[in-house]
Symmetry: C2
């Protein structure tokens, strides 16, 4: 009986940290070997981190990555390893090294290079051609990379026709709230179409705007999930594959024979690495509890990991957040504490004459609940100093948005001053509804190094807040904060609804327009008021310039602002 013990190392690589990533890969090789793993895989570009972007244009970076690969090859005694790196043969290839017992036995070049959404792989890589099947411990193994598996006519059918019984697909698949279901369905279909085991090895970790969620999976020849990795944490998934299941299934499936008739022409060869059967595994695999994650919990975890990794990987230890007593800054503080610990989070309350009493007491209550330090710095004196200084220039003009923005900018400056003085990273607190409509002040509340919830619509901010309290079993986020009507508090009795439609109307319009490219008339046909739809679209279009100067933040929707959506600032197209 051919029983292959498969391992998937779902690691957190850091972009550019070639040595650190290599050390981590070696640790996981040790762990896997101790568990009797025959074949261990690592994520796409595990050695360089993903995505390395224009680091790929540095010749020394490519050379260093190759040196690291050699270190991994030499270290892989008594085990087979598939690991992502950058191969260079005149052009660069996004590659998977196939290693067996200290020898580099093959290199697979990614064939389908994604160049949409957040991806720019055509900018760097040449597409591969040819995809041999490796015989490892007598098992036919087809190796491919990420996007390759999303193409029904990609390498998998050819690899299967040439004898692949297991597909080892290595990935760097960024999280969004709909992604896991898409992956599951696709893997189900591929496995059933080809009667093949598929291993889907994703990475975890935050990288600028992206967060990788892990949730690696192994499916059997029926598409059933037989092992899965945790979400948002490193993991080593180990599972035994009963390869004969594939043989039996194929005998019963006439499609396989029909397709095989053309196989001679595919030009796919077998590379024999080891014909001997897999070893007999006496070492038990640790039991794993199966768990399910709901969407809100998943988003929350993404925000915690994305924020924590941005802070840590950029060499910061502590963060500072302006606490207005509103729901957005409150949620950001909670996420920061979960990501970094209460000792590493500083809240700053910066009341003005327009601040409600609640905005001060609510910030204090939150700081108590979280056990974080709270600094209070009133802004009135400085704000009035600005007004006095500007009096001659402003003579005769009515107060308006200039004065409102000044208050936000005084706060931004105070946070940046604390950041400069103490080395704290400023977390900004704007949500996606604000980023979309430009309901935020450039250099004011938009100031900061990382914008934690910039891709979270306001309606989801509320759901996440409920989740936080529910998980804690107590009101970490004071109920009064959840209940009060949203306000920027930059003039007396200001409410968000003075400027914006109610969020339960605004957010679906933003989703339809920004995430799904619907036109005004499409959205009106969904039942929304015409004037409202056109007003929202105009706000989204006119505020591209603000978003260009925004801090990065965690992508959690299928289309975030930033790399994902590339609109010109200068544009006279009228979508509204």
């Amino acid at each position: 009986m051919r029983n292959l013990r498969l391992g998937l190392a779902q690691i957190n690589s850091t972009v550019g940290d070639l040595k650190g990533n290599t050390a981590r890969i070696k640790q996981y090789i040790d762990q896997a070997r101790n568990l009797g793993v025959d074949l261990l895989s690592f994520p796409e570009l595990a050695i360089t981190g993903y995505p390395p972007e224009d680091l790929l244009f540095k010749a020394e970076f490519i050379k260093d990555n190759r040196t690291c690969l050699e270190e991994v090859v030499n270290y892989s005694r008594d085990i087979a390893v598939v690991v992502g790196f950058v191969d260079s043969q005149e052009d660069l290839y996004n590659s998977a090294a196939v290693i067996f017992d200290g020898k580099l036995c093959g290199i697979y070049h990614k064939m389908y290079l994604p160049n949409y959404g957040v991806f720019d792989e055509d900018r760097y890589f040449r597409r591969g051609s040819g995809s041999p099947v490796y015989i490892i411990y007598g098992v036919g193994v087809g190796v491919n990379i990420c996007e390759d598996i999303w193409h029904p006519t990609g390498p998998i059918p050819y690899q299967v026709q040439a004898g692949a019984e297991l597909i080892v697909n290595i990935d760097a698949s960024p999280y969004d709230a709909l992604k896991r279901q898409k992956r599951e369905r696709m893997l189900y279909t591929r496995a059933n179409d080809h009667r093949v085991f598929i291993s889907y090895n994703n990475l975890i970790g935050g990288q600028d705007e992206l967060v990788f969620d892990g949730q690696s999976m192994v499916v059997n020849e029926r598409g059933e999930i037989i092992a899965q990795g945790k979400a948002f944490v490193e993991d080593l998934i180990v599972t035994d594959l009963e390869i004969e299941r594939v043989t039996r299934a194929r005998l019963r499936d006439p499609r396989m024979r029909q397709e095989k008739q053309g196989a001679g022409e595919t030009g796919i060869k077998q590379v024999i690495i080891s014909k001997s059967a897999p070893r007999d595994h006496k070492i038990p695999i640790p039991q794993r509890s199966v768990y399910t994650v709901d969407m809100v919990e998943e988003v929350y975890s993404a925000l915690v990991l994305g924020t924590g990794d941005y802070v840590r990987k950029n060499g910061f230890h502590q963060v500072v957040i302006g606490l207005s007593g509103g729901i957005d800054s409150t949620l950001v503080a909670v996420i920061a504490v979960d990501a970094l610990g209460a000792d590493n989070v500083v809240g700053v309350s910066m009341p003005s004459m327009y601040s409600s009493e609640g905005s001060k007491t609510d910030a204090q209550l939150l700081a108590q609940n979280l056990g974080i330090k709270l600094i209070t710095i009133p802004i009135n004196d400085t704000y009035h100093s600005y007004l006095k200084t500007l009096e001659p220039a402003f003579a005769g003009a009515k107060p308006g948005v200039a004065e409102e923005n000044l208050q936000a900018r005084v706060r931004g400056n105070l946070l940046m001053a604390l950041s400069n003085k103490f080395g704290w990273l400023v977390l900004s607190t704007g949500n996606k509804s604000e980023m979309a409509t430009g309901y935020a002040t450039l250099y004011g509340d938009m100031a900061g190094g990382f914008a934690v919830i910039k891709d979270v619509p306001k309606t989801l901010v509320y759901k996440l807040s409920d989740y936080v309290n529910q998980k804690a079993g107590r009101d970490i986020i004071p109920q009064v904060v959840i209940d009060k009507p949203p306000s920027a508090e930059l003039r007396p009795d200001q409410k968000d609804t003075d400027s914006l439609p109610p969020y339960d109307i605004l957010d679906p319009i933003i989703q339809a327009y920004v995430e799904e490219d619907h036109s005004a008339s499409d959205i009106i046909a969904m039942g929304y008021d015409g004037e409202t739809v056109r007003r929202v679209i105009r706000m989204v279009d006119r505020n591209e310039y603000k978003r260009r100067q925004a801090a990065p933040g965690v992508k959690i929707t299928p289309r975030a602002f930033g790399r994902d959506r590339r609109l010109p600032i200068t544009s006279k197209y009228n979508s509204g």
Copy 2:
């Protein structure tokens, strides 16, 4: 004798302004017809503007662009027209419509899609296949688009083998200081390789970070420039082509016969649009003066056009600039006045206790020289108000970069307050040397809507300043401003050289590292001090986060920060 009168309309399209662009195209058709032009071309994507980026994902935008094309087709009576638009046939194609006498006779799909540098065309378009030759007035015309002509094995050899005597190439080629020479050399080679007339029709105008310089060209079968468009302004270039020159040259060139032997297999067809000979042109072509542009003048024109178009196309009329008395803000003010007129430029002097007497008087002198309004707003009171407010939080800490940045941020806030109050766009004044090293304050001197000289190294700032004075024949830029040692004036006796190497050493290192991807050891081998090189590289690497929040500005070097150079913020790769 076959004499074809060719016209090139070097227009300034605005991205998204489909109706405006169409109206402009029709105006040029009128002008060309009045001059007896047989065949008139327009730039790449002339109807949509270039680059339309993610506007291409909007189905209505594509439909509207097609409607505009039909309008142009109907308008093209008694003339042949080649114009860029987006064709949609399941996928999108970057296309050229071939129109003759009110009929759409053919559509060419761009074959080579640039996806490097500032380009992302693989994100949107499918590459074309096939490239017929159109017989227009009995002349074989091969049409292709921009990047196509840069590939020696691209459509040109096939089009020539199928009978093309003239190649009409339509372009959207962004300016950089080395680009014109590259184009000339390439056109010379293509024309000589294939003994063919080539028309290279570029556009002009600023679009976010890009500026298109025009400088369209027509070369004969020897690669000699027989007509050229102006730089940075709209132009209609009209020239008569003596097509028999091609016939004669080919008879004398054995390469053509050898290559033709395989022509039957290329599958390139001829599409006969009009066999009748070109009309006899009785209308004289207006005489054109030939001119040459030197590099500094060219860069200056690029900055003026890029800035003016950004301001105008985004609906602004006036700009505001903080004038420190330094060379950078001075040059930006001069450029702004050239782009928008003195009445539309407001200078603001914001002295602090660290400002030298010269910084105030020099700003005044400049404002006089330029005839612009100058507002003076001292920052001391507000700055001290911040310090007082921050006293409890800063207790015991030494003054340092936090205090310096606060001054810059007070100035940034004041400019933004004026912008909010009066609708003036803030022009920021940082140069490329500062952007590279992070020698600038986020939300301080980096605050603004457009960063005019962000791609201009400091050493080139000086050359441009000399050029300004030389052109004017007087010291518009006071000589004392050119002569004084650069200083941010944020602490007593501060000089740029306290933090940075001298600019004549810094700038070549930045060029080698940022624009040419050289490694530290490469640059040291060029003769620069090792410690200096490594320090500069560290500064460049560490300040990616600042550049991500910078305003857009005109690209004038082969690699600008922004779309052109995409490095991760989070990166542990040590290049230094």
